[in-house]
């Protein structure tokens, strides 16, 4: 018998047994009898008309089984890849939603757009045949940047989308904001770019599809964060496969960060093709292929203005953003820079009036969608940067101006002017904790020590809040969601008392198999080792919306908690019968059902046994078996937040920025497993540091070629870029989730870019530098210093 390992403990992760011993089961590991290999032929052009495709040489190549193109998709009358959100403009006019065919039809709109699918006996034969496919392109000029895309004379991606604008979206009280600006003692202004990112999960995307003629059933194994949603979107909306005839399996998945939370054309093409060729087909993307087909993130150009009174109180905030959607609408695409951006512009401050206008724009680039944080890092960056700009312009200390505007702990629940209502939080507490943890009071001495070595040292703050636990379905529906955002869990108690949980979230690095087992162990008093978590298979798990938006613990964990409660309720009924007591007198604690005030008890195992061997059982009023299911739809988002403090050192000779200290004090609500939370915070912070200092997806204007097309040119943060981090929690409990949890998957990525850039600007402020765009590369910093007000000689 093992031990109960409950909430707050930090056991080693269950899943690491298989991962660390090489026994994981990823899509690329799976082999099916008679399996063929598929290769996607992708557009080498950013923008072109397809005049014709000649398949004959490819079809005649050795080992080729099939060559499929957009004409075949059209002939089969298949659906467009669906967008899961429909946003509207200020007048209520729906966004422009041009079709996204799973194989390009008539035109290609980004380098990487899928033109054909080649199936052959081996991957080598498929690759060789793909090179023989002749596509006659009429190359058109590409447009890759949002400013260019909305400008006069820009190449137009779609005939019926003038100026490439998908939607001109807005939020907030425009008139109230204008009135407040007229009264302002000071207006801070800031123009900035939020750089385009590539997600880079460790495991590239992959899929295997198989069709069984005997049962008319399809199986798709795919690297997905949400297999049930893929089954719905692909089966119901693209391929017209009934839900009961389609199984989607997402087995072990090596990281997602959002990249794998969309329904991709590759999944639909391979599933459709598997039936046509009557054999299983496998496709595994290369890293290079991922760079031109995995959905990218961020890519905003923004102008922001903050109105303040003479004491530095924020009166109003106005933000105008152009957001890049890429060549088509991806699954969540238009939702990210709108609904997950505008409502976060209040931050942790009492700003009474906010207006946000976002033009969502098509360009000849990979479609842009959610990437860890998704909209919320962009909002936090704009807000936390302009707060620093305002403080500098008004001569108010950066910490002090934040304090003056922070929502006090006792003011929660707090209704913002941009839809969301924060249930709980303590921004001042997080700030105070971080100031101590970061040893801010001795920063001056550290700065002087750096100066003595010819280096500039800077300190940067980010006091932020995010909305996660996506999402309350009714609220999301009003904002344009076309699906629900609840979660489900089944707690299956076996006759021997061990437990299998079937849950609709997906574990691809987050440690769910451990965290969820702790919840069950805690609730039911079952040994930690006697709980297994099953996910990622639509034939095994009832339903689910998957893992994204820091929702798994908040929404899935809540469903699990509710299902466990139902098990206890039923267990009490069984115990009441066996112990010959009234149900109300049965207590459940530490894995034992007992009659209050007596020593009469039944163990959890005894109750489970009685439920499955119902010889002495209230069969007249109670069904046998012990398995309960719950669906949970949250009543609100959760609002984790905190204070991050970055400390950097800049080498003025080379422009190199070194992150020397990093401190985060975060409010993530109840912590189930502190080791896993710490790991999530570390990983999230590093991804934000990556955006701030290193990562940048760069396209060539005109041709639409991705210049940062591999890890040789796209810089990921590495271990030697990073200091040891100080990470702590200062939690207030969420008032509406069953366990008080808030989620922690994205906080690091949301809080950190602003902290790092604020530190870089602080380090250079004595030279008149007021803003640095991301990533703060050595080349960029050196150029800023060249143009700065003080000369910086090489020595």
């Amino acid at each position: 018998m093992g031990n109960v390992i409950g909430i707050g403990a930090a056991p080693k992760r269950k899943e690491d047994q298989r991962f660390l011993t090489g026994r994981g089961n990823y899509v690329a590991d799976i082999k099916r009898p008679g399996m063929t290999a598929g290769v996607f032929v992708r557009s080498p052009h950013g923008h072109a008309v397809i005049r014709g495709i000649n398949k004959s040489a490819a079809l005649a190549a050795p080992g080729v089984v099939a060559v499929l193109t957009g004409d075949d998709v059209a002939a089969d009358k298949l659906g467009s890849l669906p967008c899961g959100w429909g946003i509207t403009d200020a007048k209520g006019v729906p966004m422009k939603e041009p079709p996204y065919p799973m194989l390009a039809q008539g035109k290609v709109r980004f380098v990487g757009d899928i033109v054909a699918f080649v199936v052959a006996e081996t991957p080598e034969q498929a690759s060789a045949a793909a090179e023989l496919l002749t596509v006659d392109y009429e190359v058109l000029p590409s447009v890759v940047g949002v400013l260019d895309a909305v400008g006069p004379g820009a190449p137009q991606l779609f005939d019926d989308v003038p100026n490439n604008i998908c939607c001109d979206w807005e939020l907030g009280d425009k008139a109230a904001v204008e009135t407040a600006f007229k009264k302002a003692a000071h207006v801070a202004k800031l123009s900035l770019v939020n750089n385009r990112l590539i997600g880079n999960p460790m495991e590239p995307r992959a899929a295997i599809a198989e069709y069984e003629p005997g049962t008319d059933r399809y199986t798709l194994w795919t690297t997905s964060q949400f297999p049930h949603v893929v089954r719905f979107l692909m089966g119901a909306l693209v391929l017209n496969i009934p839900q009961h005839k389609l199984r989607v399996v997402a087995p072990d998945v090596g990281g997602g960060f959002g990249v794998k939370q969309f329904h991709y054309g590759e999944e639909a093409v391979i599933t459709w093709a598997a039936k046509r060729v009557r054999r299983p087909i496998k496709w595994v993307a290369s890293r290079s292929e991922g760079y031109v087909s995995d959905r990218h993130g961020r890519d905003h150009v923004t102008e922001a203005e903050l109105a303040l009174d003479e004491t530095g109180k924020f009166l109003a905030f106005r933000v105008k953003t152009l957001a890049n959607m890429g060549g088509y609408l991806s699954t969540f695409g238009p939702n990210i820079p709108t609904n997950l951006y505008g409502p976060l512009l209040g931050g942790v401050y009492t700003t009474p009036a906010i207006y946000c206008n976002v033009k969502v724009v098509f360009t000849n680039t990979v479609p842009v969608d959610a990437y860890r944080g998704a909209g919320r890092p962009e909002a936090t960056f704009v807000l936390e940067r302009i707060v620093d700009v305002a403080a500098a312009e008004m001569g108010i200390d950066r910490v002090e101006i934040r304090r003056r505007n922070m929502i006090p702990k006792e003011a929660y629940p707090y209704q913002t002017p941009v839809l969301v209502q924060y249930d709980s939080g303590d921004p001042v507490g997080c700030l105070d904790g971080a100031l101590v943890a970061a040893d801010v009071k001795n920063f001056g001495a550290r700065k002087a020590a750096s100066a003595s070595r010819g280096k500039f040292r800077g300190l940067g703050y980010s006091t932020y809040v995010e909305a996660c636990g996506l999402a309350p379905s009714r609220f999301a529906g009003r904002l344009g969601a076309r699906g629900g955002l609840y979660e489900s869990a089944t707690v299956r108690v076996h006759p021997t008392g061990q437990v299998t949980v079937l849950i609709g979230t997906h574990n691809h690095g987050q440690g769910h198999e451990t965290t969820f087992a702790q919840i069950v162990s805690d609730r039911l008093g079952v040994a930690f080792e006697n709980v297994d978590i099953v996910f990622g298979d639509t034939d095994r798990v009832q339903f689910g919306m998957g893992t994204y938006g820091s929702r798994s613990l908040v929404v899935g964990g809540a469903a699990l908690s509710k299902a466990a409660d139902k098990v206890i309720v039923k267990g009490k009924k069984i115990a009441a019968h066996l112990l010959e007591a009234a149900e109300v007198d049965i207590q459940f604690e530490a894995g034992k059902f007992s009659v209050a005030g007596t020593d009469r008890t039944k163990t959890f195992e005894e109750i489970a046994g009685a439920a499955y061997v119902p010889h002495d059982y209230p069969l007249e009023v109670l069904e046998p078996g012990l398995e309960e299911q719950a669906y949970y739809d949250p009543v609100n988002f959760t609002y984790p937040g905190g204070c991050h403090i970055a400390e950097v050192e800049v080498d003025p000779e080379t422009g190199t920025v070194t992150l020397v200290n990093y401190t985060a004090v975060d409010d993530v609500g109840t912590v189930i497993n502190p080791m896993i939370v710490e790991g999530q915070l570390h990983g999230g912070i590093v991804q934000g540091v990556g955006q701030a200092l290193y990562e940048n997806a760069v396209y060539d204007e005109g041709s639409g070629q991705l210049l940062s097309g591999s890890l040789m040119d796209y810089c990921m943060p590495r271990a030697d870029h990073l200091p040891m981090m100080t990470v702590a929690t200062h939690s207030t409990l969420c008032t509406h989730t069953p366990m008080g949890v808030k989620g922690c998957g994205e906080v690091g990525t949301i809080g950190s870019p602003a902290a790092v850039i604020n530190a870089v600007v602080d380090a250079l402020s004595h030279l008149g530098v007021t803003h640095v765009d991301m990533p703060a590369t050595p080349n960029r910093i050196w150029r800023l210093l060249q143009n700065a007000s003080l000369p910086v000689a090489a020595e």
Binding site: A128, S708, D713, C715, R783, A794
Partner: protein, 265 residues
């Protein structure tokens, strides 16, 4: 990867014969550049000639006034060699900065020099030290060997067997790593000999090159201050998404100073 014939000759003449008898055959040394190119189907050589079974191409020899390093010696061996660390520490340091541990254990000095990648480290060391490239047929001085972007003086049937380095009085290498690839965005090798100073730059342009004004200044006064004011012309320097030409030019001066600093410590 497309199919190719694979040869593993045991003797240098056999390897040289294969190299001329099979058109477009490629030599496989460590494969650190060649294999990724093949995997991405960017090259389609009909045959690879693997040098790993050739005797005596691996190893480091102390000749007193010179050190000779076999062409198939991996970077990690050079970096860890007590002999190189003692007599030519700047070269051991250079080798320790190449790529990552996997690359250093597979990649070879001969492969790096023959490939002459414009951002590789070894060309700076070979040119900066005025080393001699020894091939299957002759000896070529570094000044005559490197000819710009991926170009060398090697004939089609010629195979590098070793590099012979003279021992300087002092030498240093300073590398500003490209953030993503960790190749040299700019790398400068400085070597002081009895008869003068050599300065070789990699990463900044289409091929490794020397900087005569810095060499003259350092020959007068081997100190970072001697070259602090020497600016490199941006003409012909590389501009890309990581660094524009003027930034690279600036870094040449900074890295040259740091290389002198390294030589003096």
């Amino acid at each position: 990867m497309k199919p190719f014939a694979y040869h593993q000759p045991g003797q240098i003449p056999e390897a040289a014969k294969l190299l001329i008898s099979v058109e477009d055959a490629k030599i496989l040394a460590g494969g650190m550049t060649l294999l990724p190119t093949l995997k991405q189907r960017l090259a389609n050589p009909p045959a690879l000639i693997d040098l790993s079974k050739l005797g005596n191409l691996k190893g480091i020899t102390d000749e007193g006034a010179t050190i000779t390093i076999g062409a198939m010696t991996p970077h990690a061996v050079v970096a860890a060699s007590k002999l190189v660390q003692t007599k030519l520490p700047a070269l051991a340091a250079l080798a320790s900065m190449i790529g990552d541990p996997a690359v250093r254990n597979r990649g070879t000095i001969g492969g790096s020099v023959a490939n002459n990648d414009p951002a590789a480290d070894y060309p700076a060391g070979v040119l900066g030290l005025g080393a001699t490239v020894i091939t299957s047929t002759r000896e070529i001085t570094a000044d005559k060997f490197f000819r710009g972007l991926f170009e060398t003086a090697l004939e089609p049937n010629e195979i590098i067997t070793a590099i012979r380095f003279p021992l300087p009085l002092k030498a240093g290498y300073a590398k500003f790593k490209a953030p993503a690839s960790r190749y040299a965005l700019v790398g400068v090798f400085v070597a002081k000999f009895a008869d003068g100073v050599r300065v070789a730059v990699t990463g900044a342009g289409p091929g490794v090159f020397r900087v005569p004004p810095m060499e003259a200044a350092l020959s007068q006064n081997f100190d970072p201050s001697a070259i602090a004011a020497i600016k490199i012309d941006t003409d012909g320097l590389t501009s890309d998404i990581h660094a524009e030409a003027d930034y690279r030019a600036h870094l040449v001066t900074v890295m040259a100073k740091r290389a002198v600093d390294a030589a003096l410590t």
